[in-house]
Amino acid sequence: MLHYIGKRLLHLIPVLLGMTFIVFLIIRAIPGDPAQVILGQQATAEAVAALRDKLGLNNPWYIQYFDYLKGILTGDLGESLRTRQGIVTEVWPYLAATFELAIFAMIIAVIVGMNAGIVSAWFQNSWFDYIAMVIALIGVSIPIFWLGLMEQWIFSVKLGWLPTSGREEVRDPVSAITHLYLIDTLMQGRFDQFVVTLKHLILPGIALATIPTAIIARMTRASMLEVMRSDFVRTARAKGQKMFVVIYKHALKNALIPVLTIVGLQTGMLLGGAILTETIFSWPGIGRYIYEAIGYRDYPVIQSGILIVAFLFIMINLIVDILYTVIDSRIKYN
């Protein structure tokens, strides 16, 4: 197993290398000059040229690329052209915000989606099944920005139950330790702030969870329907086992592999930053961090941001592959 994990981590190197190269070229194809953007439209040509020189933008692209690679190999993701801050230190608060939101959304998606799928399969062709699957179909096709706006309009503006946007109360900001606010507030014993943080998570969490919930529900249902026809399900029933246990123990574990695959892919996508949701709810996450960097032509931030997201995506898939072996002892990697 360790051998396999080692091999997979080695495979990471060419993938990430290829990715940095492609991203490096593509962002330089975007029209616009970072120096010009930083100095503004009124800046003199001399000032712009001087800044370009200082930022190393006048070097040939391959020198710039190798300088960047050298940095990555020593653990330095470069510094932002705009803020002149090291990206390694600058990115964490954004990443933590995305982690918190994505994990919150995935917890909703897994609990609601899987249970909806299981119950739909259990009572196939019942009214529950029909309604759940219609909702799931709506869920996959609904535009998220619209759903987000509707949520804000109903639950914040009309009902006033939940905050419209942001991660925290502006007048009473959370003092960050890990930047995962749910954990930070608990560590400081600030339960009032914990509740406020949770309230801030609900609307963007639901918006972000909608598509994964719907996909997981449909996948779970399909997979469960197939497994429930299996002979071992009948064996379990013939033993006198309760239907609930037959479904949630015997059938579910067998139906889990395709569902787990989907959960892994969806989690990876959410961690990649849900730009729409983060923008609508002013969520200071990695998606918005990269999006804003594009506006400023902040090349190092874009490159390193995408590198981090790609790395996370690959790691999650590796974890999913390892989880397969935990569920099914027949799966072995050599």
Binding site: T235, K239, R330
Partner: protein
Amino acid sequence: MSRKKILEVKDLETSFFTDDGRIAAVDHISFSVEEGEILAIVGESGCGKSVTSLSIMGLVPSPPGKITAGEILLDGQNLATLSEKEMRQIRGKDVAMIFQEPMTSLNPLFTIGNQMMEAIQIHNKTWTKKQAKERAIEMMKLVGLPRAEELFKEYPHQLSGGMRQRVMIAMALVCDPKVLIADEPTTALDVTIQAQILKLMKDLNIRLQTAVLLITHDLGVVAETCERVIVMYAGQIVEQAPVQEIFKNPQHPYTKGLIQSVPDMRYKKDALYSIPGNVPKPGSIQKGCRFAPRCEYAFPRCSEENPELYSKTKAHTARCFLLDSENEVVLHAEMGGQVNGERIAES
């Protein structure tokens, strides 16, 4: 030497409600299994054997299936009217079942031990884990599984087909059921393993006195293991007799056909006999005897009326007008006396 009837099926009808209307897969059948007996139900695929066994277990897929008439009396208690919750107390404890495919009948993701213990703990809630484990291992040894302690921790895919079927049998017998239903237990196994499993079932039947209802399409299996045989065709019982009687003196043309189509090593034949035609599809059943379209002895009355079960002897009945005394004279004239199994004797 009349033994107590442990399982009595009376006038059982199990129907499936489909878009094409109601189809009776099991059509008013009655039989009983006595204590410690092995009774076989024989027939081609689609004749209602498996639905009969699933009806007894209360496991007919519903919808669309449902027991629409009759009684299933287990030790006097009518299973057909029990709720799902009540039926759960019976399944695995009083009636247990083993299935055709040992390769897929065990859950691939749980250890043998986990699945054995589950069968015990469902019906013995007060038992400790240790007691349950001891009982499981004792049972695994009883069915002839070597190194039971190690197998306890293994997964089904690490076992051969024969071993898995032994596990299934151990699991079914672990709560000492009154009746064991074995639905084609050897069909998926190769011949040497088949013989071992049959011998095991017969041994256990003698040792534990568990009554066995053996569902099969293999007359070889029947000859080796059973005391009495029921032959089913298109949802009905067509013949019922002690095992020697069936082989020596089959009465129903369908039974004769089945016996003739068993390969016999002693005689070299050009081609193996096969009954012409197919089992009628459920729902397409016409009036008259259901076997009449395929029967070489059929005469006009056969396609007009459905015969009842006529008695040859007290223990031997068959659903055929050939056994109706009113017909005897007519028939002898029509068919040149080739009635009571003479064709069989020729071959």
